[in-house]
Structures are given as C-alpha cells and as structure tokens.
C-alpha cells in the first residue's frame, strides 16, 4: 500500500515507552467489590438515572438515559444491586465530584436479553438512536457521543479510522487491533455501509507493525486501505490524521464532514460493532496500565472499576508519586485513585521520578521559536504565550488561540521549560468567561427592551381607548415573545465550550438542511419583528436593524472562531 501522505507541520517524537505494555494479551480483572459509574461518561449533558438505590439490575441494563441533544446512555457493567446514587469523585484534574451510580456486583454476571440490531434495513437515524441507547461514545479519549457523528448517510466520501495511537505509553488500541482485528474490520464495514463512504483509510503509526499486519490480514479482499503512518506525535489528532491521509485541512470550528470526511477511533468502531451485531451496550473498555508498575499491560475492565483496583492489579511500584489518566502528553494527574474508570479512560500511568523527572523551574522565553517549529496547528505559540501572560486575551484570540489543540508539543520542546499549555488553557478560560458575561449582558438588555416595548404598546392602547376622538383602534397585538437562548448557568468549562461549538455546528447543519441558512445564534439574536409597531417608529426600527446586524456579526465571528 503506497498511499501518498501529506505530512502535517511540526510534531515531535517523544520516547514511546510502548514496549512495557504492548507485549502481553489483553487481560481481565476479577469483579471489583463495587463499581462507581459517573453519569458524565461523555462530552455533553450527563445521563439521567432511571434506577434508584435498592434496585437489582442485570448486566447490560440501562441505568441512565441520555439527557438533551449531546448525551449518551449508561448501562450496568455487571449484574448486582444499586446501593447509591450520589456525588463521588470522578477522574478529573480538580478531583471534583459528580453524580455517580454505585453498583455492588452479585457475581452472577446475568445479562439482559441481547438482540442484534438490524442496521442494514433500519436506516441511519434508527442506527444512530440505537448507538445512543447503547451508550457508544468516542473511546479515543474525547468521549464524543458516536451517534452524533453518523450524519445523514450522505456526503461522506472518505471514512478515516484512527488507529494511530500516537501518545507515549498508551497501547490499548494496539492490542485491540492485534487481537480483535476481524471484529474491528466488521465494524468498519458497518460504518462504511451506513455512511456510504467511497474510500476507507485506516491510519496506524508504523511503530505498530503487528497491528498493521493483523488488520491487513483481516481486511482480506475488502477495499480498506491500512496505511502505515510515520510515527510522529500528534498524528492521532483527528485533524492531523485527516491531513496526513487525505491532504485536507479541517479548519478549527468546522467539521470534517463539511469536507466529506469522518473519523472514528478503532476502539469506538469496535464498540459500535459489539453494540449493533451483538446487542452489547458499552460497559467495558480496554485500558493500558503502565509506567512504574510491576505488571504493565492492557486489561479489559468494566466501566466504574475503581482505579486503585486497576493499579493494584498492575502492581504499582513503591516509588510511585502520582498517576496520570490518559497519556503523558495530554492526560492529567489524578488527585486520587478513588474514582471509577470512565469510557474515556484509555490509560493510567504510574509516575515515578525516574520516568518523570520534576520539571525545572521555568525560565524566561527567549523567542527561540522551537515551539512554532513543532506546533501541528501552525500557530506561533511564543506569541500566544506572550499575549496570555500580558493578559491581552483578545490578541491571543485574534491569533487563533482556539485553534490550539493542547497537544503539548510546544511545552515539550521549550528550552525554558515554560508550561505553555497552561497559559493557553488559562487564556481560553478567561475568554469563555468574558464571552459568557457579554452574552448575559446582551440577554438582559434585550429582555429589558422587549419589556419596554410591551409597556409602551399597552399604554398607547389605553390612551387610544380613553380618547373620545379616537378612530376605531386596531387591536394591538402584543409583540411576539423574544426567542432567547437559555441563560448559561454554570461557568463554562472547556468541555462546555467544545460542546457549545459542537451544538452550534449541529444546529448550523440542521439549519442548512432546513434551507434556513441562518446560524442559530444570529437567528435567536434577531430582535422581534414587531408588526404592531406603527411605521412612525422608524428610529426604533433602525436601531433594531443595527442591533440585529451587530448580533449577526458577533455570531458570524463566533462561528468563524
């Protein structure tokens, strides 16, 4: 297979550390004494529990249903009893608590009735619903609900399957591709049929020759191209991978589907296959246990398995001084091992000073430009850092701060050891907060104006009714209620921003389908077209028009970002 690759700019080659964990078969764990299942296993809204403490559940039974557009279901990973639904700590850098379902296994492993889904005849919408009900979300780490990525089954020319696994230490996809290639390829075929894709490309970094070989064997005569990619982090970033394989660059804020490409991680495709062909919801995942441990390797663990049970299984060394959830480039340090495994938990690394020497104190930036050399988003990280430090967040935004994928390549090569990604996260958070405040103020202003108009109209109507010379009064219809976006209650977290962008993109797509061609933000920001207003109110109308234009400009800017 000699496909012409389109290397992306930059990238790095960190030491791989994959040998520790990729040499043994996927193992399993004895049933833990309890499972702690966060209701937020995915990007978007947490699932809504439909069981109560005391309920007995079967393996695979739905515990919580999707809530809102961007959400996914959650199921019992084993049979047992629900003992609590309460806030417990979840894998999160801040150690925050989320509502979790706590399940005590009964050791019976009794399944619900499993029914294969007839995806060939059901139509793509029904398949999407099924995947949502089966709790299938992206297993590459982001946890985006998979059913939202199917689209309409039209307009996808190229299906990209992401088996790059470019982060150091992580090998769960490698083992999956080696051991379950046939099922994976079956899943790829399902997706190809559903999306009607012409071309199917599976990208795997060339440091996984066994996985590449296994996949090529499993593909047999199928028209699926398994492409060996040069090992270069972050080739597993969706946009970097799409660029590598197709030459297409998906700009930030737009979706690959607009260019006729869609990308799925191999773990996700495998979960999709299990869900559709075997009727098995997503209740477990392969997770790499590695770093300073006695028995590094991969296990297929039930969701909700306490992380300390996983680490006990791997045998963490004495010198361990912390754990990473995810890889060392994009993962985060776990405040504790109390949390349960989530759908996005692809790896746990036990940190020892030998493997992860402490970072030397940061020195000033000398503008050497090494960060720009390696930035896969082709940003100028030293300038973004400068703006973030100087609190010139708007300048950072102008320089496309939000195109930063936080891959960490810049910080990896910085000779001054500046924690660059921290600065970008901080700047993004500041901008989100400012935007939210701005939106809230807008909202208040529009509400106030709408109220003023209502009062004026009512007053006018009363005055005309009282006036003896009044001509017959045309009935004053009260102005249509202003359509307002729901107020943002919580401070926007990075996920929420992403979510909002995704939601906006989806809404845009929907609007396009409906032929509306109006970004929803602009649509909702349209002030009321108040037909009852007399034409004499021209000034008011001009102001309204200007406001609408401004809102549209803002919305357009938003969508450009």
């Amino acid at each position: 297979m000699s496909r012409i690759l389109h290397p992306f700019h930059g990238g790095i080659r960190p030491p791989e550390h994959k040998r520790h964990s990729n040499g043994s078969r996927i193992g399993s764990l004895p049933l833990p004494s309890q499972l702690v299942l966060s209701l937020r296993q995915h990007i978007g809204q947490p699932a809504r529990p439909i069981v109560v403490p005391g309920d007995t559940v079967l393996k695979g039974q739905t515990l919580a249903v999707p809530e809102g557009r961007i959400s996914s279901a959650l199921h019992a990973p084993t049979s047992g009893r629900i003992v609590a639904i309460e806030p417990r700590s979840v894998p999160h850098p801040s150690g925050l608590t989320e509502l979790c379902v706590v399940l005590v296994p009964d050791g019976q492993e009794r399944w619900v009735e499993r029914m294969p889904f007839d995806w060939r005849t059901a139509g793509i919408e029904a398949v999407a619903q099924q995947l949502c009900a089966m709790g299938v979300v992206g297993l590459g780490g982001a946890g985006f609900p998979t059913h939202l990525k199917l689209g309409s089954g039209r307009g996808i020319e190229t299906l990209v399957i992401n088996g790059a696994e470019c982060e150091p230490y992580i090998t769960c996809d490698d083992r999956l591709m080696r051991e379950r290639a046939a099922d994976l390829v079956a899943g790829i075929q399902i997706l190809r049929t559903l999306l009607r894709a012409q071309t199917v490309l599976v990208g795997v970094e060339d440091n996984k020759p066994e996985a590449i070989e296994a996949l090529q064997l499993a593909c047999g005569g199928a028209d699926i191209e398994v492409v060996a990619l040069p090992t270069r982090y972050p080739s597993g970033g969706a946009k970097q991978l799409i660029r590598l394989l197709t030459g297409l660059e998906v700009p930030a804020g737009t979706r690959a589907t607009e260019l006729g490409v869609q990308c799925f991680n191999v773990g996700t495709v495998y979960a999709l296959y299990r869900a559709l062909e075997h009727g098995e919801p997503l209740i477990s995942r392969i997770v790499t246990l590695t770093g300073a441990v006695a028995r590094p390797g991969n296990v297929e663990a039930l969701l909700g398995t306490p992380l300390d049970a996983l680490m006990q299984h791997a045998g963490a060394d004495d010198g361990v001084e912390g754990y990473l959830y995810g890889g060392p480039m994009m993962g985060f340090a776990l405040p504790s091992l109390a949390a349960g495994l989530t759908k996005s938990g692809n790896c746990i690394v036990a940190k020892s000073p030998a493997l992860f020497p402490p970072a030397p104190p940061p020195m000033p930036c000398i503008r050497c430009g090494d960060c720009a050399q390696v930035c896969p988003a082709e940003l100028q990280p030293m300038d973004l850092y400068w703006f973030a430090r100087a609190r010139q967040f708007d300048r950072a935004r102008e320089r496309h701060l939000f195109d930063c994928i936080e891959c960490g390549a810049c910080a990896y090569v910085c000779p001054s050891h500046i924690p660059l990604v921290d600065y970008y996260r901080h700047a993004k958070a500041e901008l989100w907060a400012a935007d939210a405040a701005g939106q809230a103020a807008d909202l208040a202003r529009r509400r106030h104006q709408a109220r003023q108009r209502r009062l004026e109209a009512a007053q006018q109507a009363r005055a005309e009714r009282r006036s003896p010379h009044a001509a017959p009064v045309p009935a004053v219809t009260s102005p249509a209620p202003v359509v307002l976006p729901p107020p943002q209650t919580d401070a926007p977290a990075p996920l929420d921003e992403k979510q909002a962008r995704i939601a906006a993109a989806l809404a845009r797509a929907a609007a396009r389908r409906d032929g509306a061609g109006q970004p929803p933000a602009a649509a909702s920001a349209q002030p009321v077209a108040d037909e009852a207003q007399p034409v004499a109110d021209e000034k008011q109308a001009r102001i309204e028009a200007a406001m609408a234009r401004a809102a549209q400009r803002r919305a357009a800017q938003e969508s450009r970002r």
Binding site: K239, G247, A252, M329, M330, I366, C368, D403, G408, Y412
Partner: protein
C-alpha cells in the same frame, strides 16, 4: 500541581547558552593565535563585569540572583562584546561596555527575553560613539606587525596603559582591512581587488566553523545567517561590478570585519530577531544590506552593530506582518493542501 505535558525533551536554556559559547571557541582560538593573549584578557574582563552587573541588577529587581546569573546569557553577551573590541584596548573599555550592555541593553527592559535591542551591540555602540580613538586602536597581527609585544607586555598595556620602552602605539597599530579599504578609496588609491583581507579572513573561518556547529545543533534558524550574508554579498558584488575601483567585492566583505561573527552570533540573537520564517529572512537581509551601506557610505568602518540595532526596532513590526497562515486557514481553500 503539574499539568500536561508531563514530558520534556528540550535542551535547557543554560545548555543552549553553553553551546553558543562553545561555538565561539574556534574563532577565539584563532584570534589568540593571531593577536596574542590580549583577547583572553578582554574576554575575562567583560565576563566578570557582565556577571557582576547582572547580579547587581537582579538583586535590585528582587529576582533570584543565582538562577538567572547562571543561565549563561550574560556570558554570551560579554563574549560577543569582548570579541568586537581591539585586543589591546584598555581594561576599562571592556568593563564599561559590559556594564552598559547588561544594565541598559537588557536589565532595564526586564531582563532575559524582554530586551528590544541586542545587548552586546548596545555596549559596542556606546563604546564606539564615546571612545572612537580607543576603539580603533587595532594592533597589527603578531606575525605581521612592525613591532611585537609578548604576553606580559600586552597585559601591561591593557591593564596599565604602558608600553615597553621606546615603542609607541603607532608602531603597533595597523588599520583593519575595512579601514584600509575605506582610506584607500577616499585617497583615490585602488581599493582591495575583491581579495580576502588576510588575517581577518582566518578569523572569519573560525566564526564560520562555530556557526555551522550552531546550525547543525539546530540552535539558530538558517534564515538568519543566510539572509544576512546573502544580502551583504549580493550588494557588495553589485557595487563592485558597477565600479571595481571604488568598491571591494563580495568575498572581501564576507571575509572582513564582523561579517561572519555577526551573521552567526549577533543577527541570530533570538530575543531581538523576528520569530517567523519570512520575518527572519527580511530582517537578516535588511541587516546585511545596511551593513554594506554603512561600510561603503557611512562614517564607521564596520556596520554590523548599527545595522542590527536598526533592524531590532523593526522586529515587532516584521513579526506582525509576516504571520504564517494557521492550519486549516490557508487562503482560499477548504483545506486542500
């Protein structure tokens, strides 16, 4: 609480600076061989003065003195300044220049990474404007001079301002090739015929070796030395072609004065140069062109320092004007590369 990434593979800043110092060694060795031990005295004087000034400024600004003094940047600045001084210059020249370079060229702006102008060149310009006589007292190379000072006599001159009995400085002095060329042209004599200027060409070779080492170590971007030397050579060749009698050729200009030292060690100061590829080429080529123009038509024998300082002012603007397109936002296409 550390956040991602948890790995680093960078050459620490201190080692970057040490490598730059190491890259200067071949040139320094040649300079000692050509001009004697005086060069080392200048280096020592400048280093001590620069480190002391740096430490004092850091203390006054309330910064951790040890961490920042040991980053190596003050030494690099001191060495570059010392190497631009006449080897037999009086001791206070190197000391004063280093103090100005560090205090006014760097710390006043907020220390490492914050300065607008190349600190070593700030020190150099302060000296050449304030003490033009001392700054032009270049002794002849040891092998070619009419008189010869041994090591102790050289040090006696640097630190005590005394010369051996019966020798005046004029007996030792020799015009640098650039000076000689200018004087010849002004007097209507034929200038150098595009030949390399003897000893300084040897020196240039030393800087070239060090520069290639820096390139190989990826510590300097190729755009800076290539842009600088390219523009200098092209302009020199053009003028030489137009009027060979009045203008020395490209090789002469590349081989004399601070051309190669400047190209690899001064123009390449990352703090004061642009960070974009296009910006770097424009910056370096402009500095090369200015160097030539100052040499050919200006009032000073060499133009590297002035050219670099002038272009330092343009760095922020060049950075603004040469922003490369971002991934997925390259003009007029939905992403096809």
């Amino acid at each position: 609480m550390r956040t991602s990434p948890f790995l680093s593979a960078a050459t620490p800043l201190q080692r970057v600076m040490l490598k730059v110092l190491a890259a200067l060694l071949p040139g320094i060795a040649l300079q000692v061989w050509l001009f004697g031990i005086g060069v080392l005295a200048q280096l020592a004087l400048a280093s001590v003065a620069a480190l002391a000034t740096e430490a004092l400024c850091l203390k006054l600004r309330g910064y951790p003195v040890r961490r920042f003094v040991s980053d190596g940047s003050a030494l690099v600045c001191a060495w570059l300044l010392a190497l631009s001084l006449p080897p037999l210059a009086p001791w206070w020249l190197a000391v004063l220049g280093s103090m100005f370079a560090i205090a006014l060229g760097k710390q006043v702006y907020g220390g490492l990474g914050q300065n607008t102008f190349n600190p070593a060149m700030v020190g150099f310009v302060v000296l050449i404007v304030s003490f033009p006589a001392q700054m032009s007292h270049w002794a002849a190379p040891l092998a070619a001079g009419p008189a010869y000072l041994d090591a102790s006599a050289q040090l006696a001159h640097i630190f005590g301002g005394v010369l051996p009995h019966g020798i005046g400085f004029d007996a030792l002095a020799s015009a640098t090739p650039l000076d000689a060329a200018r004087t010849a042209v002004r007097q209507g004599l034929p200038g150098p015929d595009g030949m390399l200027g003897g000893t300084s060409a040897w020196l240039a070779l030393g800087w070239l070796v060090g520069g290639l080492f820096l390139l190989q170590q990826r510590l300097i971007p190729w755009q800076l030395p290539c842009g600088f030397l390219g523009a200098l050579a092209v302009l020199a060749a053009l003028f030489h072609w137009a009027d060979p009698a009045a203008h020395a050729g490209a090789l002469f200009h590349l081989g004399s004065g601070a051309a190669l030292l400047g190209a690899f060690f001064i123009v390449t100061d990352p703090v004061t140069a642009p960070t974009t590829a296009r910006g770097r080429i424009i910056y370096a080529a402009s500095a090369g062109a200015l160097t030539y123009l100052i040499r050919a038509f200006g009032n000073f024998p060499d133009g590297v320092a002035f050219a670099v300082l002038i272009m330092n002012m343009a760095t922020p603007l060049l950075d603004q004007l040469t922003q490369p397109p971002v991934f997925g936002r390259k003009a007029g296409r939905a992403g096809r590369s």
